[in-house]
Symmetry: C2
Subunit: 334 residues, 2 copies
């Protein structure tokens, strides 16, 4: 492991993404990626009394599932990283409290999944661990309740708004293995361009994605065309267009090989999801379900996964603050 350029880590003995697991809610189950997810829920409660408890159960079972799928015993997983959007990350801490694996709580808003991937890779290559698990969750109902309005009010959603993905993605990183490998990581800086519209997270996060992408290309000497696919976490339709435009002003063309998990996970026309999916589980489930599958099938050999997060909450919006964004990128190759 070494630092290259301004802020990128190069993994000289790249750790392997051993296995992934994904669970999604009923709306995601009706979307175009449905067949790639491990489990589709029929309702938003999954037998629990509250949305928060349901979200905890989702991440808990996604974690149990990845352990089962990996064939590893829980004992052989050294550490885990997890986070979510709920206040004090309660989905993760309550969901994982019976796991009995040393736990690092992380918070990168919707960038949490790739933050976990990067830190897990650092522990694995650094010989602090052989196997590290990471996971992230979100839930449409608990997120709306907490960040915007109670669902019971039936508020209208503006066209720029995104639909928080209900679900969880989880994965295990191993120090040794046959890939897909995490080869580079570019953790992002906080970027705040003054966007204040809490219903336009794509616009708030896009400049952070551009900052991390430009840095990644410079630090690694790679061009966008090196990757079969560059996939952002949850910029949605609006944020995606902003990234394409902004990169063009810096001389980078990404249109043909660039997409966004929030664009991929829903059918915009049929599902009425406006600017697309969002939430920690957007990147988490699309990677753990769809993208990892495509890499195992060798349809994608080199991808750059860049998860984006809006480091904001209802209080800061009420206090007139703008929305700081962040984006963490990981290069994954077979």
């Amino acid at each position: 492991m070494q630092k290259v350029g301004k802020q990128t880590i190069k993994f000289d003995n790249p750790p392997t993404i051993l296995e992934t697991a994904s669970i999604v809610g009923p709306k995601e189950a009706q979307g175009p990626l449905s067949k790639y997810f491990d489990m589709l829920l029929e309702d938003e409660f999954w037998g629990e009394k509250t949305w928060e408890k349901a979200e905890s159960k989702i991440i808990k079972e996604a974690v149990n599932m990845v352990i089962t799928k990996s064939g590893l015993s829980a004992d052989s997983i050294d550490y885990c990283f997890a986070g979510d959007l709920l206040n004090q990350c309660i989905s993760s801490s309550f969901g994982l409290r019976e796991l009995n694996i040393p736990y690092f709580g992380i918070f990168g808003a919707c960038s949490t999944f790739v933050e976990g991937m990067i830190l897990s890779s650092i522990l694995a290559e650094g010989k602090a661990a052989n196997n590290v698990l990471f996971a992230a969750s979100s839930h449409f109902c608990s997120a709306e309740k907490q960040f915007r309005f109670p669902l019971e009010l039936g508020n209208q959603r503006p066209p720029t708004s995104q639909w928080t993905v209900t679900g969880a993605g989880s994965a295990i990183i191993s120090a040794t293995g046959s890939g897909p490998y995490v080869t580079y990581a570019t953790p992002g800086k906080i970027v705040d361009k003054g966007i204040k519209d809490a219903n336009n997270m794509g616009a708030a996060m896009a400049p952070a994605a551009v900052d991390t992408l430009l840095t990644h290309f410079k630090d690694t000497g790679r061009n966008p065309s090196y990757y079969d696919a560059i996939i952002s976490g949850d910029l949605g339709y609006i944020g995606k267009e902003i990234v394409i435009e902004m990169l063009q002003t810096y001389g980078y063309k990404v249109k043909s090989n660039y997409n966004d998990c929030g664009v991929l996970i829903f059918d915009k026309e049929k599902q009425d999801t406006h600017s697309g999916g969002s939430g920690c589980a957007c990147c988490g489930t699309v990677f753990s379900g769809y993208l990892f599958n495509q890499m195992k099938a060798k349809k994608y050999k080199k991808i750059l996964l860049i998860a984006t997060g809006a480091l904001t909450n209802a209080t800061t919006s009420q206090q007139g603050e703008s929305i700081p964004g962040i984006a963490h990128a990981a290069a994954i190759e077979i």
Copy 2:
């Protein structure tokens, strides 16, 4: 770096804690450790309009201060870790948004400071970075408002309650240096013994501290007496007594060399702080102010710092849940 025993990381080339900085509020400024802190605030607002903005300013200035004290340029700090107790960790993300250093958000409740120390040490020894900064903050007024009652209500505080420390601690870990060194880290598991009293965090967190301490002693082969001081983060008077009693049932005597940052930071009799201090800044400022100073002066040569966190919030309490605890330990030696 290598894993030893069940869950401990041994740093073979131990990273150095290059420098620390601490800022505290007016109540902490009247406490017994007053002279060790870098900056004492005269009021809880520090010129800001809200407590949240004040807390952001406190962590921002604690981070700027440790960079200045270290003599490093901000450019030479590769990555930073930060977290706090506010919803979505807004104190850290807003406080550090102009810092221009790649940012990993972490959430370990009041264990955040040592979680940051451990992850920073892993990056530094793993050669992912030369210099890594970490910081944590808390604020009495913003914490009471968010977790319990608005201060304006003047609610009575039960004797088991603790007083959230207003302040921030920050530190820089370097891959090379002359110490104090981080020699071992024992990240903790989530431990939930069913305590439901949100006004008795010490009791909720103590079992996690005991779990991590027992594991640390077994993994390293060290006895409690190896350390000049074992210092927990914010168990307060009640949690401290529980730890002493529980360890005794396992055959470990720690009474003479064990103390707690929450016990140290306030004068219980004169300051009416009931069971003692708490919050991310409790461990953060007592280490960055008092303990680091004692190590530099060689009064302490070997300490075990174990920060404790309650991974809970108001919603989970309202939904009848118990309080999961966690405790992360780092051995620091000169």
